[in-house]
């Protein structure tokens, strides 16, 4: 869409003097505007610094407060360290509290992410490839139904899904969380736009002429070309599954199957119940441990997902 609009700058009054090339090359690397317009602005940097501070301050708060004891939390200034540094002690207590249930939640979350996000990515890659590279009966219908479904609120589905699953005996089992996680319409959309760009039809044609089956063409010829897109979809489905709260909330009763998000919420709510021990220091330390893996994944895989998104947005 952005490309289409860019084709008609005349309506905007600028740029009419230049003949415009519309077909941008496949998979452009992010533009480095800096080279030509290199006047950096201190004022702009400082202004954006406010947003940066806003984004990072709560994370800093979390880090600082994960080093405090329950008493320290109540008696020291929130944005700076307390006298005694209790981070290691907090981590040890988080991991062992209530018979090591936190580690169990961590393992559950990993299970849901590996099967849920992994499966969702696999289905989205296959489906996106089909939509991009095949003309099959019902293609348009598939497309309309899937895109329309994105607008349907989670709760419209939650209650009936819960009732359906309970009749199938799936509630309170990991499957109740994993199966609905397998569908990512956004992932399908992203893979579809990405595959359209990244796989030249000619390559598929020549693989077929060489006698390769459809499966072989896909796995050996096309799949490697899709890597940045796959990493992007995987990251976003990972975030969705790792951070999932609503679905496990309705599906799971047994704390042994909780993911981290539900577990942390249960720990937090514990302080409000009669006779419940207030363990805010463990809630905070647990929160820190919960977000670290995802933040690490995003930082380490930056190169992939940023190019994956840029390519996707060509066709937005």
């Amino acid at each position: 869409m952005s490309v289409q609009t860019a084709a008609r700058p005349g309506s905007a009054g600028v740029g009419t003097s230049s003949p415009l090339k519309l077909r941008t090359p496949r998979l452009r690397s992010p533009r480095t505007t800096g080279t030509r317009r290199s006047r950096r602005s201190l004022v702009l940097t400082l202004l954006m610094g406010i947003v940066l501070l806003y984004s990072l301050a709560p994370l800093f708060w979390l880090l600082v407060n994960a080093t405090k004891t329950q008493d320290g939390l109540l008696n020291s200034f929130g944005l700076w360290f307390d006298g005694d540094f209790a981070l290691w002690d907090n981590i040890a207590r988080t991991a062992t509290y209530d018979g090591g249930i936190f580690l169990r939640w961590f393992a559950n979350t990993v299970l849901y992410v590996v099967l849920g996000a992994g499966g969702a990515t696999f289905l989205a890659v296959l489906g996106g490839y089909a939509l991009a590279k095949f003309d099959f009966p019902g293609r348009k219908a598939v497309f309309a139904v899937v895109i329309g479904a994105v607008a349907i609120p989670g709760t419209a589905l939650a209650v009936p899904t819960f009732l359906m699953f309970s009749q199938m005996g799936l509630t309170n089992t990991p499957w109740a969380v994993i199966i609905p996680s397998l569908i990512s319409p956004f992932g399908l959309y992203l893979m579809w736009t990405f595959a359209t760009e990244a796989i030249p039809t000619e390559i598929m044609e020549s693989a077929r002429i060489d006698g390769a089956s459809e499966a072989r063409t896909f796995f050996q010829v096309c799949l490697p070309l899709l890597t940045p897109g796959i990493v992007t979809v995987l990251l976003f489905t990972m975030v969705a599954t790792w951070n999932n709260y609503f679905l496990p909330l309705i599906m799971l009763k047994n704390p042994d199957w909780y993911p981290l998000t539900l577990g942390l919420n249960a720990w937090n709510a514990q302080a409000g119940t009669a006779g419940g021990e207030a363990i805010f220091n463990l809630v905070i330390t647990g929160s820190l441990l919960t977000i670290l893996p995802l933040i690490a994944a995003f930082l380490l895989l930056q190169r992939y997902w940023q190019s994956g998104l840029s390519a996707g947005s060509v066709k937005e």
């Binding site: 600028v14 095949f134 066709k315």
Partner: protein, 312 residues
């Protein structure tokens, strides 16, 4: 159901060169189903079947005497006269009207600043502002909830340090704004990334042309960049509209920190949830959810139509 398809279908035609399309057409076969089939099978189970079941549920009522009875549109009529439902809907509409523009404007300004190439430490800005997106709503809400707290939160610290008596962000007057702040914090980076990705693929030749015409930065933004990323803005707006109407996690989690200011019908989603999981009123709950689905789709459609019309 087809609401967003024109917007996404359009680039398909635009992207695939005519030759490629015709070649694909010549290969029209069922082979594609080998690849789309698995997705559609699961999709039918977790999307289509629940929707159908929802509609089925909404036209019945479970009575104490006589069991389940067909009641036609009675549940819908009940929802339209339900003041709790309207109050929930009013609250998310207010949220939508204030939070979404604020969030999208900040995200857009940041994206434009990144794209201008005039920032020091551009990639540090980009990744740092995006990071909150990787934080689960549960953690974000707990974190902000603790900070909001007058006991060991920052608000408490500030009151203590300066002898002030700032109102609690969790009081009933401020709690909606406080939730708005949490959601804004979570999604500025995500929306910024959508905008920024769209900005990076604007053909450079356009800027060269603008430079020849002597256009300044602001003029380039108004005349080239904003029109070029209108599609991305529409998409981000639609996602935000859907997100606002589905507001659930943040109020539901804050409820345990502030039980008295967040009611069971604070948002339509929370209301539908309480109806079915505390009240066992599955039929009515499904009805509320369907009405919200229809309203969400209507507004998302309106956003899209409006966005597209400007483009033409």
């Amino acid at each position: 159901m087809t609401m967003t398809s024109p917007q996404v279908a359009a680039p398909a035609g635009a992207a695939a060169p005519a030759a490629r399309t015709s070649r694909r057409a010549s290969r029209r076969s069922w082979a594609g189903w080998w690849f789309i089939g698995p997705f559609m099978a699961v999709f039918a189970l977790v999307f289509l079947a629940p929707i159908a079941y929802s509609i089925y549920l909404s036209v019945f009522r479970n009575q104490l005497i006589g069991g389940t009875a067909f009641v036609g549109l009675d549940n819908y009529a009940r929802a339209l006269g339900d003041s709790q439902f309207w109050s929930a809907l009013g609250r998310v509409s207010l949220f939508l009207a204030v939070q979404v523009p604020v969030m999208l404007t900040i995200a857009l300004v940041v994206a434009l600043a990144l794209d201008s190439g005039r920032l020091y430490g551009k990639s540090f800005f980009r990744i740092s502002i995006f990071l909150p997106y990787a934080v689960p709503a549960v953690v974000a809400t707990l974190m902000w909830g603790f900070m909001y707290g007058t006991r060991f939160g920052l608000v408490g610290n500030i009151n203590q340090a300066f002898g002030l008596n700032l109102p609690s962000p969790l009081s009933s007057e401020l709690v909606l704004a406080s939730i708005g702040n949490i959601v804004t914090w979570e999604f500025i980076g995500y929306n910024m990334l959508i905008f920024y990705s769209a900005l990076t693929v604007i053909p450079k030749s356009l800027y060269e042309a603008a430079e020849i015409d002597g256009a300044g930065q602001l003029r380039v933004i108004a005349a080239i960049k904003l029109p070029a990323i209108r599609g991305a803005i529409v998409v981000a707006s639609i996602f935000s509209v859907i997100g606002s109407f589905q507001l659930f996690n943040e109020p539901s989690i804050l409820k345990s920190l502030s039980p008295n200011t967040i009611s069971t019908y604070f948002t339509p989603n929370l209301y539908a949830f309480s109806l079915s999981f505390s009240g066992q009123q599955y039929n009515y709950s499904a009805t509320v959810a369907i009405i919200m689905g229809l309203i969400t789709m209507a507004i998302a459609y309106a956003v899209q139509v409006r966005g597209m019309r400007k483009e033409l």
